[in-house]
């Protein structure tokens, strides 16, 4: 949904790493299931998740930090888009990508680029400028959202350093019809409906959604809006067919289209000019999955996934209608995969799989419209072993071979030990990696809109610089181009260790301590200055960082109808080289008022930009099934954080960098974005188990920071009505 602001490279790099901790919401999920029906009370079913092992496993038995957000919780929050849901979870921060497109998710302090987002196990693409725009995903057909924290490259390959968010969508089950309409502030109208039925061997499910908003304007004194109006449509369908009790197939597809109308004031040669234009984003995917059980012990799943993403933006000058800016990006991803599961016995399960990924990108930002391809072959294994009843061990690994960056092996080892009925320990360690993306390899981009700079991918930089030099356009080299070598994949080594403890009957606590050590981080490198004073950037593997902290969640059901929960995350995210330089006494800061220079003490280095040291939430959910009333109050807190050198603007206003004392790092003497708390409330009443009325207010106290937090709209009122009908098929 594009807070479209013209990209600057500095930002992309300084935000590269963000760390956050995620606290599992185990307890909330089991609460969510209670709502299903009174009968479940007595035989509380355990939640089943698929993301952690690629196979369906009960969540409580998994040795890694996993959390789950169930459909009922999403409904109770009144959420419409994926970002609405994720922003309320412990340890997840939705961060605005000022110079990139969209708002991404920060997990354990990693930047949004480092979390893999899957829909039914298949990756969402469209990392146009690094992160994925979460508002592309409507939540109406989501059955549950599974979040695995810590590296999962051992199963999923590239991008799964911080974690994996897997969106599990509804499947055909019984006969059902749902329709919902919601209207709220900013003329935001959401209409969605689904229909599904099963008939003998066939199951069909179709979901449709239309979402429109007028956007919002946090700086009315300036031309244009903070978020421009947009409208999007989502269509999902899933068809299942059981050939026999042993063999079934599922065909899933998605189509998404979004149009946005822009009005921007841009700065050109020192003067402000008005522009207007359009942005269009589309994606579709196709995903057949064939499952066959050869025997009680052996199961095989063949999956095919093909997806396409494209976005186009243009801006025209208001004065004469001439083209001021245009940008386009197309990406496709195709993957066949075979996955097998073999049950040796109750204590040993082996999974083996392999596949091939073909990726293509085509964009004007590479200087031509040529298609760029890369291919990755991979194989993975995972063994689940229960040596004794109270101990489980999962060992796994995956090898990826890519046509550009070569081979990567990503192992992972996890273990769970049940001390007694009240205390369970979990520990897991693993390796994650992120391949250099197309942008870092092939960018050939000259941004005249944001004051002028160029970015050259490492595969094209040397040739392009030679051309510029031959044309006499290089004034000074800042870095020897010969040292711009082949980019390596970024790698992390991580440990997560924690415990689930039942402190009192029904008062549950989850604790997870994490440490991620990240090397080979790709950072922009200023390479040269042109004769007209513009900077030229490329990329290098230069940064090393770590993120560490702890996450904790408490859940306490009070009586049968009320559930209280508290979540907290503590986070330290630091650049290792800066830490060492500060320790060696080589980092200084100059008081901007007295102009006196002082040496920075280790305790005064705050860490990476956009990471809050503290964040937390407090939630109360109420659900009274007999009368149909439910309600919630959620308080979400994010502690203070810094902003890097972002060369972009929000509605024509520059974003002031936090560093004010001439050392280019974030220390305690710098300016910070203040910590803040948001309060969201909702109330709903269901009549006759079919019609549901809901009202709510998000951001009750209307907290905004127009320039510093552009993704935070003011107070939002909404009301919705929905109808649902469902009938479980009687088993023949």
């Amino acid at each position: 949904m594009a807070n479209l602001i013209f990209a600057s490279v500095n930002q992309l790099s300084s935000l590269k790493l963000s760390l956050t901790i995620i606290l599992g919401l185990f307890s909330l999920s089991s609460y969510g299931q209670d709502i299903e029906g009174d009968t479940l009370k007595s035989k509380e079913l355990e939640a089943v998740v698929i993301t952690a092992t690629r196979n369906e496993r009960t969540m409580g038995a998994l040795p890694m930090p996993v959390s789950l957000i169930a459909k009922d919780q999403i409904k109770s929050m009144g959420s419409l888009r994926l970002n609405d849901v994720l922003t309320e979870q412990t340890g997840l921060v939705v961060v605005p990508q000022i110079n990139a497109q969209g708002n991404g998710i920060q997990i354990q302090g990693f930047n949004p680029d480092y979390t893999l987002i899957l829909i039914d196990g298949e990756p969402l693409i469209g990392r146009y400028t690094g992160s994925l725009e979460l508002s592309r995903i409507a939540v109406g057909n989501i059955k549950q959202i599974e979040i695995v924290k810590g590296p999962s490259s051992s199963l999923y390959g590239s991008d799964a350093l911080a974690g994996v968010i897997n969106i599990i969508t509804d499947r055909p089950q019984g006969t059902r019809v749902n329709a919902a309409i919601r209207y709220g502030t900013n003329n935001t109208l959401d209409v969605n409906g689904d229909i599904g039925f099963t008939k003998k061997k066939l199951g069909v499910y179709v979901f449709g959604n239309r979402y429109h908003t007028d956007g919002y304007d946090l700086s009315p004194q300036n031309f244009g809006k903070t978020v421009s109006p947009f409208t999007n449509y989502t269509l999902n369908s899933k068809i299942t067919y059981k050939f026999s009790p042993l063999t079934d197939i599922s065909l899933a597809g998605r189509f998404f289209n979004e149009d946005q109308v822009f009005n921007f004031e841009v700065e050109s040669n020192g003067s402000r000019i008005r522009t207007s234009g359009n942005g269009n984003t589309r994606d579709w995917n196709f995903n057949p999955v064939l499952t066959h059980r050869f025997s009680d012990k052996f199961k095989a799943i063949a999956r095919f996934y093909s997806t396409h993403y494209q976005t186009e933006t243009y801006l025209n000058l208001e004065t004469d209608g001439s083209r001021y800016y245009e940008d386009d990006f197309k990406q496709s991803f195709t993957r066949p995969e075979l996955n097998t599961e073999y049950f040796f016995n109750d204590r040993n399960i082996l999974s083996l799989g392999g596949g091939y990924i073909s990726e293509m990108v085509q964009t004007s930002r590479y200087g031509d419209e040529e298609k760029r391809y890369q291919g990755t072959s991979y194989g993975f294994f995972q063994h689940e072993w229960l040596p004794v009843e109270k101990l489980s061990v999962i060992v796994g690994g995956r090898y990826d071979y890519n046509t550009i960056y070569g081979g990567q092996f990503s192992p992972k080892l996890s273990s769970r030990f049940e001390l007694n009925k009240k205390v369970t320990f979990k520990v897991s360690g693993g390796v994650g990696f992120k391949a250099p993306d197309f942008r870092q390899l092939y960018f050939n981009f000259n941004n005249s809109a944001a004051g002028g700079y160029s970015v050259l991918g490492t595969e094209v930089a040397v040739d392009r610089l030679a051309e510029l030099e031959a044309a006499g356009q290089i004034q000074t080299y800042l870095f020897d181009p010969a040292q711009l070598g082949n980019l390596q994949a970024e790698r992390s080594m991580s440990i997560n260790a924690g415990a689930n403890v039942e402190i009192l009957p029904s008062l549950k606590m989850d604790l997870n301590v994490f440490h991620n050590s990240i090397n080979n981080l790709i950072e922009t490198q200023a390479v040269a200055i042109t004769t007209s004073g513009q900077s030229i950037y490329s990329y290098r593997n230069i940064l090393r960082a770590y993120t560490q902290g702890l996450e904790s969640n408490f859940s306490y059901p009070v009586g049968r109808f009320l559930n209280l929960s508290v979540g907290y995350q503590l986070l330290y995210a630091k650049d290792k080289d800066v830490v060492e330089a500060v320790k060696a006494g080589d980092v200084y800061w100059r008081d901007p008022n007295t102009l006196v220079t002082k040496r920075l003490k280790p305790s005064e280095y705050f860490g990476l930009y956009t990471r809050s040291r503290n964040m937390g939430n407090f939630k109360v959910f109420y659900s009274h099934k007999p009368s149909g009333w439910e309600g919630s109050v959620r308080v979400i807190y994010r502690g203070k954080y810094g902003i890097g050198n972002i060369r972009g603007n929000i509605q024509g206003e520059v974003i002031p960098p936090s560093d004010t004392n001439s050392n280019s790092i974030l220390d305690v003497y710098d300016d910070f974005v203040k910590g803040y708390a948001l309060v969201n409330i909702s109330v709903a009443k269901t009549v006759k188990n079919a019609v549901r009325f809901q009202m709510g207010i998000d951001n009750l106290f209307d907290y905004t920071e127009p320039v510093l937090i552009p993704n935070l709209p003011g107070r939002l009122y909404y009301g919705s009505v929905s109808y649902s009908f469902s009938k479980k098929n009687v088993k023949p």
Binding site: S8, G270, G451, L478, R590, P592, T597, P657, N663, S664
Partner: protein, 218 residues
């Protein structure tokens, strides 16, 4: 003619130095003090071109400074060793080799200005010591140019050059005396938080000059 003049001035200065050091021989050397020089105009130009934001009316001439006199040296004396450093925009030259007839040398060290009690004995460079990088005319200067390379860091948001904290320029003058300096601001009147609207190319810096033949700055 010019060369005669400069030879003459070298002779004169040599005589003066001899006289000065002769005088002070019987007295305890006075403690050296830190002096702040404000608003050294480094070719600020006459205005701005509104279409590209670049300054106009540039003279393309360096402004010369002598630590010994603590003052600006007239441009007419460019071909002498009367000056130690020359300033034009963000470029700082030392009076040696490719930049001047003197033998001044300099280096940048990291540290706290007040804590630097003794000048390093080696590590100084003339303006031709660094191997030039192709296409980079200023890359061989003793005080490197470019953001993050020498004495300043460019703040792309406010579009200002900020002197990097903890960078001290140590100069060995043509007479073999030592000076240390810390650049505090690149903007006129050294505003606390300069922006694009402040007038650039005005140096404010702090320095200590040791007139005696010692590396000590105390």
């Amino acid at each position: 003619m010019n060369s005669v003049k400069s030879i003459l001035s070298i002779v004169l200065i040599a005589g003066f130095v001899a006289a000065f050091t002769g005088c002070s021989e019987n007295e305890d050397p006075l403690p050296v003090v830190a002096t702040t020089f404000t608003n050294l105009a480094a070719d600020p130009g006459t205005g701005f071109n509104p279409s590209n934001g670049q300054p106009t009316g540039l003279t393309r001439q360096f402004t010369f400074f002598s630590f010994k006199t603590g003052d600006i040296v007239a441009h007419a004396d460019s071909a002498t060793n009367k000056w130690d450093l020359g300033f034009n925009g963000t470029t700082i030259i030392v009076n040696s080799a490719t930049s001047g007839l003197g033998t001044s040398q300099a280096q940048i060290v990291s540290g706290i200005f007040d804590e630097l009690a003794i000048a390093p004995t080696d590590g100084y460079k003339s303006d031709n010591d660094v191997a030039p990088i192709a296409g980079a005319p200023n890359a061989n200067l003793a005080i490197p140019t470019g953001s993050g390379q020498g004495w300043y860091t460019y703040d792309g948001v406010n579009m200002v050059n900020k002197p990097t904290a903890g960078k001290i320029i140590v100069v060995k003058t043509s007479e073999g005396r030592y000076a240390k300096m810390e650049i505090l601001s690149y903007y006129k009147d050294a505003p606390a938080n300069p922006t694009f609207n402040n007038t650039a190319r005005y140096y404010t810096f702090r320095y200590v000059y040791q007139p005696n033949e010692t590396t000590s700055f105390n």
